[in-house]
Symmetry: C2
Subunit: 486 residues, 2 copies
C-alpha cells in the first residue's frame, strides 16, 4: 500500500452552482451564436496539417485556467479548424443533421452522467431506449416481430459500422453452430457498392473471404450473381455465412433487392443484414417503403437517426429479428454484474447487444426529437430534402453539359460532366472537368460536396439533408456548379 497523507482534503473540483449556471448560459449563447453565424463561415476548413496543434501549448497546464480562456479558444483554435457539418451548404458524405432539442437532450444526458451497462444501472436509460426503438418500428413500418416486446428487438449502437460488425459476429456465431470450419473459411457477401463498413466489419470479425457481388446498371446487387457466388463457394467447401444488402448505398443510394436477396439467404442459411444507414429515415414516409420490400425476411437492420433524423451523433438504431441470436454471440456474465433483475431474465441488459459494456443515455435525444417535431415534422423534412434533390436532378438533366450517373430515389444526386464522345480521351477530359467543378464548389466556401469515383470515372455526390439547407442554398449550389462547368 502506498503511503497516504490523511490530511489530503477535497479539492475545489466543481464550479459552484452559480458559476455553472453562468458558464452554462455562455455556452448556450455560444452555440446559438454559432448556428446563427454559420452561414458566414466557409463550409470546409482550409487548415493545413499541424496548424491546429501549433496553437496548443506543448504540455497540459499544471494549475487551473479560468473558464474565459476555454471559451475564447473555441473561436481562436477550434472554429478555424472545423468543417461545418451543420452548415446549410453541407452536401458532402451524408449529412449528420443535429437539431436544438437533440443538443439539449444530449446535454441532459451528460449532466445525468449515467452508464447503462445493465438495466439495474439505470432502468430509465434502458426502458426509454427499448420504447423509442419500438416507436420507430411503427413509424417506419418495420416488422412487428422486431419490437423488444416480441422476439426481436432494437438497440442504439454508436454507428452503423458498429451495428454491421456485431451482425457479422452474430452471423459467424450462427454459422459455427452448423459447421466445424473456422471463420477463415466463412464468406461474407455484399455488393460492390456496399459501404466499406461491411468489408471492414468482416475483416474485424475474422471472416476469411469477402465477396463484393456485381451490381446491375442501377448499381444494385444482382441476386443471380449472389446466388452463383454462393453456389461456387459451397462447391469449393467454403461456408457462406453472411450477406449484407443495402437500401441506399453510400456511393449512389442504390437499392439492393431485399426480397430476392432474402430468398437466397434463407435457402443457404446466410445471416441477412440490411444497411439502411441513410435511407432508413425516409421510411417514415409511406411512399419510400417499397424500396425495402421483403424486410420482414431479414435477420438484422440498421439505420442512423444521427444522419437524417435530426438526432445528433451518436445514435444508430440496430434491429435483430431474434434477440437470442445476438445475445448468444455477445454475452459474458462476470460476478460483479450479476443482479436480481438480470438473473430473473425479465429485463434487457443492452451490454449483451453490443461490444462495449458502458453506454450513455442516447435514447433521450431520440425521444426529444420525435416529440419536438412529431412524425409529421420529420416526414415534412424528408420530403423537403428529397424535393430539393429532385429539383437539382431536374436542372442537371436539362443541361447537356451534365449527366446523372445513377438513379436518385432519395436525396442524393450523383452526376458528372458529359463526355464529348465515347472515346477514353473524352472521358478523361470529362473526369478533369468534373473534378474541377468539385474543387471550385468546395473552394467557394459556400457549399461542400464529395468528389468520388463510379466505375472508375469521376463523379460528384450531392447529398441533400442538412436540416438548415433551403432552396436559396440549392440555387447557390446550382449557380456554382453551372459556372464552374465548361
Amino acid at each position: 500500500m502506498d503511503e497516504i497523507d490523511p490530511e489530503v482534503t477535497s479539492p475545489p473540483l466543481h464550479m459552484t452552482p452559480d458559476e455553472f449556471r453562468r458558464h452554462g448560459r455562455e455556452i448556450i449563447d455560444w452555440i446559438a451564436d454559432y448556428w446563427e453565424r454559420i452561414e458566414s463561415l466557409p463550409v470546409a476548413s482550409t487548415t493545413q496539417p499541424g496548424d491546429i496543434r501549433a496553437l496548443l501549448p506543448a504540455a497540459a497546464p499544471e494549475e487551473p485556467e479560468p473558464f474565459e480562456n476555454l471559451l475564447a479558444d473555441l473561436d481562436r483554435v477550434i472554429v478555424p479548424g472545423v468543417t461545418h457539418w451543420q452548415h446549410p451548404g453541407w452536401f458532402a458524405y451524408f449529412p449528420a443533421n443535429n437539431s436544438p432539442p437533440s443538443v439539449l437532450a444530449d446535454a441532459v444526458s451528460s449532466g445525468l452522467g449515467l452508464i447503462g451497462l445493465l438495466w439495474a444501472a439505470s432502468p430509465a436509460l434502458t426502458e426509454v431506449e427499448s420504447h423509442m426503438l419500438d416507436w420507430l418500428v411503427d413509424l417506419l413500418d418495420l416488422p412487428d416481430h422486431w419490437k423488444t416486446t416480441a422476439g426481436g428487438g432494437g438497440v442504439l449502437q454508436g454507428s452503423a459500422s458498429d451495428a454491421t460488425h456485431v451482425a457479422l459476429v452474430a452471423a459467424r456465431h450462427r454459422a459455427a453452430e452448423r459447421s466445424t470450419q473456422p471463420a477463415t473459411q466463412m464468406v461474407a457477401y455484399t455488393s460492390a457498392q456496399a459501404h466499406s463498413s461491411v468489408e471492414k466489419g468482416a475483416n474485424v470479425a475474422g471472416f476469411g473471404v469477402v465477396r463484393l457481388i456485381e451490381t446491375d446498371e442501377s448499381h444494385a446487387m444482382r441476386p443471380d450473381a449472389l446466388a452463383s457466388a454462393v453456389q461456387a463457394d459451397l462447391g469449393a467447401g467454403l461456408v457462406p455465412a453472411f450477406v449484407g444488402s443495402t437500401v441506399g448505398t453510400t456511393g449512389t443510394t442504390a437499392v439492393d433487392p431485399v426480397r430476392a436477396t432474402a430468398e437466397i439467404a434463407i435457402e443457404h442459411q446466410l445471416w441477412h443484414h440490411v444497411d439502411a444507414a441513410y435511407a432508413g429515415t425516409a421510411m417514415i414516409c409511406p411512399e419510400f417503403r417499397h424500396h425495402q420490400d421483403g424486410i420482414e425476411l431479414v435477420d438484422s437492420y440498421v439505420f442512423n437517426p444521427h444522419k437524417w433524423m435530426m438526432v445528433n451523433f451518436d445514435c444508430s438504431a440496430f434491429y435483430v429479428a431474434e434477440k437470442a441470436a445476438l445475445t448468444d454471440a455477445l454475452s459474458i456474465d462476470p460476478p460483479y454484474l450479476r443482479n436480481t433483475q438480470s438473473d430473473a431474465g425479465n429485463v434487457i441488459d443492452y451490454r449483451n447487444w453490443q461490444v462495449p459494456l458502458g453506454r450513455r443515455f442516447r435514447a433521450l435525444k431520440l425521444w426529444w426529437v420525435l416529440r419536438s417535431y412529431g412524425a409529421s415534422g420529420i416526414r415534412q423534412m424528408v420530403r423537403h430534402h428529397v424535393a430539393m434533390a429532385q429539383e437539382l436532378a431536374q436542372r442537371l438533366s436539362e443541361d447537356s453539359r451534365f449527366e446523372i450517373v445513377a438513379p436518385h430515389p432519395f436525396s442524393l444526386v450523383c452526376f458528372r460532366c458529359r463526355a464529348a464522345d465515347a472515346s477514353p480521351a473524352a472521358h478523361d477530359a470529362a473526369d478533369s472537368a468534373t473534378d474541377a467543378i468539385a474543387a471550385a464548389v468546395n473552394d467557394s466556401g459556400l457549399a461542400y460536396l464529395t468528389p468520388s469515383k463510379l466505375d472508375g470515372r469521376s463523379i460528384i455526390r450531392v447529398a441533400v439533408g442538412q436540416s438548415r439547407t433551403d432552396r436559396s442554398r440549392m440555387d447557390m449550389l446550382w449557380k456554382l456548379i453551372s459556372e464552374a462547368a465548361v
Copy 2:
C-alpha cells in the same frame, strides 16, 4: 423515382435562436438543480421492470409537442428511473465521475455536430485529440514512443471494451502474419481476475481459446502460470497470440506484474495489452507509477478518463506502441473517403484506429477538464479519493467483524464479514451477513455499493471516486456498514 411534390417547403424545423437560448437556459438550470438536489435522492432507483415504459405513450406523437412537456417529463418519467452515478454516495462498480466543464464541452461538441471520420472532415477534431493524448503521455509518465508524434499513438475510443477488442484484432492480425493457423487455434491469455471485456473481446474477435491464468494471493496474474500455459499451448500446436494484463482489476484493483508479463510476451511474440481502465488516472501522481513498471515494453494500453478523471462518458484513451500494427489491421479505403491529405500520409485518420467510421469530438471535454482543474487539481482529487478509501480500510481492519479480502492500492476497498471459524458453515454465515450488509446499505438510499464474489465467497466492493464524495459521506457509509453488521 418516387413522385415528389415540388411545392413541399421547409418545415419549421428549428427552435428559433431565441427559443433555443431560453430552453437552453432551462436545461442548464435543470442540470444545476439536479446536481444541487442529488443528495436528497436515493442513489439507486427502486423502479421495477416495466415501470418506466408504462409511463410512456404507446406511439410517437404525430404532431410536435411543446418543450415544456419534455422538460416536465425529466422529473416525471426519468429521474425516478435513474440510479444516480453522480451522487456522492456512489460506491458501486467503478465511478464515472463527470464535472461541469466536461458537460459544457460536450454540449459544445453536440452543437458543433462534427463527425471526425477523417482528418479532413474536421481537422480540429483530430488534432486536438492527438494533442490531448500526447499531453496525457507526459502527465501520466507513459512511454514517449506512444506519442502520436513518434511511432505510436493514442486515440479516444468509446470504452475500454472497444479498445481491448481492437487490441485483440490487432493481435490476431499480427499472429496471422507468422502462422497459417486460423483464429480458432489462437490463444488469448489474461488473469482469472481480468475484466470480462478481455474474454468478450476475444470471443468477438474469434479467438478459439481464452485462458484465464491463475492468480496469486494478491489476485495478480502469476507469470509462472502464464509461462506454463503458453508452453503447453505451443506444445499442443496452438498459437499464443495475446496477453492482457491489468493494472487495477475490476474485482479488487489487483495489479498484474507488467514487466514479468512483458518478458513472456516478448519471448513468445504475444501482443501485450494493458487494461488500466480505472487505475490509469492515478498515474498522474508519481507515487502510483511503480504499479505499472515495465509499461514501456507493452504493445497497447487503455485507461478511461471517463471513469476517474472527471470527463463524462464516453472517453477512453487507447495507446499503441506502433501505430502501423493497429492501422494495418483496421484500414479500408473506399473512393468516397479518399482525399489529398490522407493520400499524402501526413495526417491521422482515426477511422483506421477503431471499428466505427464516425466519431464525435470527444477530445474537447478532455481538453476542458485538463485546463479547468490543471494537473494539480486532478492529482489532488486522486489523492483525496485514495485517502478516503484508505481511511475506510483502516476502520474495517480495526473492527474484528470485518476482514479486508484484497490489497487496496488505489481507492477500491473489498471486504467481507469475518467467519467465526474456518468451517464451511461459518463461511456460509459470513456470506449471508455480507450480503445483508450490502442490501442494507443499498436499501438506505444514502450509498450504493456492489455486492460481488471473490473465490466463491460474498464480498462487498466499495469504489471511492465519485467527484462529489467527501468525508461526511464516508462517515455515513461507515455508519451504515457498521450498523448493518452483526
